[in-house]
């Protein structure tokens, strides 16, 4: 796809995604410059735990399971994300490696954003960096709260 055509198709898509709501146009265009359309078939692995993390995904359609490997039981899914969700913040924090694996549960379409490129652009334009960090922190907080609730294992029968 040519540079021009990419911007034409992806800008409205990015603008509509809940994650980027009310993002200034100039930042949006920066993101568009680092964006590409991706698609995963059911069962396809997006990335493995431990691999270098250089992108994040804005899910447009479908479902992705975040997995952690356990020795006794193989991979266990601890979270699924779907339409409107954002996947991946390992690209933001050193050492920029995935802390979990991800696998498409069903056919999934997403926008992949180049993390390496955005890290560089954020260093140059702190306003962009702030916007990204602000949005990611609220996602991280939401996940943390949800994870804590999961940790409590509230449905477990008490002895």
């Amino acid at each position: 796809m040519s540079e021009g055509k990419r911007m034409e198709t992806l800008e409205p898509v990015l603008a509509q995604h809940p994650f980027l709501r009310e993002l200034e146009l100039r930042h949006l265009k920066t993101l568009v410059g680092c964006a590409s359309n991706v698609r995963f078939n059911a069962g396809q692995i997006l990335f493995h735990e431990g691999e270098e993390a250089n992108q994040f995904y804005m899910i447009r359609q479908g479902k992705v399971a975040l997995e952690l490997l356990t020795s006794e039981r193989g991979p266990i899914s601890v979270q699924t994300v779907g339409e409107g969700d954002v996947l991946g913040w390992s690209w933001l924090i050193p050492p920029y490696r995935w802390r979990f694996g991800a696998r498409a549960v069903e056919l999934t379409r997403a926008i992949a954003l180049d993390g390496k490129c955005l890290r560089k652009k954020s260093e140059e334009d702190h306003d962009l960096g702030y916007e990204l960090l602000r949005r990611f922190s609220s996602i991280i907080v939401e996940r943390l709260e949800a994870t804590r609730l999961q940790l409590l294992d509230v449905y477990k029968a008490h002895p």
């Binding site: 479902k63 399971a65 899914s77 601890v78 699924t80 696998r103 609730l149 409590l152 509230v154 449905y155």
Partner: protein
């Protein structure tokens, strides 16, 4: 009230259905000529295992079907474990029904969001049956159900039927799952943002462990649902079921007669506070 409310009535076990590894559903039929008392969705009975003891258990059957009395419970203590081992025809004592019920009338004309956590699905099945039997009276209906793992999901066959309906949105999630699970993984509150109910005209019914209900109410409030449109169901130690023994008190409320179904704004000052 002339009949002695502490006197238990003999019911025979028609069937015990194992739902999950520790949860089972009892189908009971009364001995002798007594008719099954009609109950409102949300109410409970005190069930007695001969010589062992009595526990309060929510009725989980269809309020419109009066031939069998249905309860779903976990086998956690002496009484429920004794019940689990019963054979067809053996006796369970039943007293009730007691308690308050879900606001079925008030929900008419509104969207209804049912949020069930774990065994909380059991007391929410009766209002769901009633909603579906008079479907046109209500707006959009959502069933959001969270369990520990896929093996802990209750009423799986019925769930599949409900999922197939176009007039009911069923979203299920589990806290963790193995690879074969193609559904959602995550806490039940994550399902709420994806349910498009109209917060200005919705009634929510929530049952689950208290922590789960707290987080769920917070999430519903975030969506704009007012506290007097959210209903929860509480549990406490009960010995009588009708406000005489004093055990089930929660602040000024007797969970057996002012509950178990509570409108959230009424119970809010005492809910989620330690050791009340």
């Amino acid at each position: 009230m002339t009949a002695n409310p502490m006197l238990t009535h003999a019911y025979g076990v028609k069937r015990i259905q194992q739902e999950t590894y520790d949860t089972f559903t009892l189908e009971l039929k009364p001995r002798s000529d007594i008719q099954i008392k009609s109950f409102a969705p949300g109410q409970f009975n005190m069930l007695y295992a001969f010589g062992v003891g009595e526990v309060p258990i929510s009725i989980s059957g269809d309020p419109a079907k009066r031939e069998v009395l249905i309860h779903t419970t976990r086998a956690v203590g002496a009484v429920t474990n004794a019940m689990w081992k019963l054979r067809r025809g053996e006796i369970i004592g039943v007293r009730g029904p007691f308690g308050t019920s879900w606001p079925m009338e008030e929900a008419k004309g509104c969207d209804v969001v049912i949020v069930a956590g774990g065994i909380g699905m059991a007391p929410l099945r009766p209002p769901l049956y009633q909603l579906l039997s008079e479907r046109r009276e209500y707006g959009k209906v959502f069933l959001l159900y969270g369990a520990r793992t896929p093996a802990d999901l209750l009423y799986q066959r019925e769930m599949e039927q409900w999922q197939a309906r176009s007039d009911l949105q069923v979203d299920i999630t589990v806290d963790r799952a193995l690879r074969w699970w193609r559904g959602n993984v995550g806490v039940v509150t994550t399902l709420i943002p994806k349910a498009d109910f109209d917060p200005t005209s919705t009634i929510a019914m929530v049952v689950g462990p208290e922590i789960m209900m707290r987080f769920t109410v917070a999430e519903l409030e975030k969506r704009g649902l007012a506290d007097d449109k959210i209903y929860i169901s509480m549990e406490r130690n009960m010995k009588c079921g009708f406000g005489f023994c004093g055990h089930c008190q929660l602040g000024p409320f007797f969970v057996c007669k002012d509950g178990p179904v509570f409108r959230y704004d009424r119970i809010k000052p005492f809910f989620g506070k330690g050791e009340i």
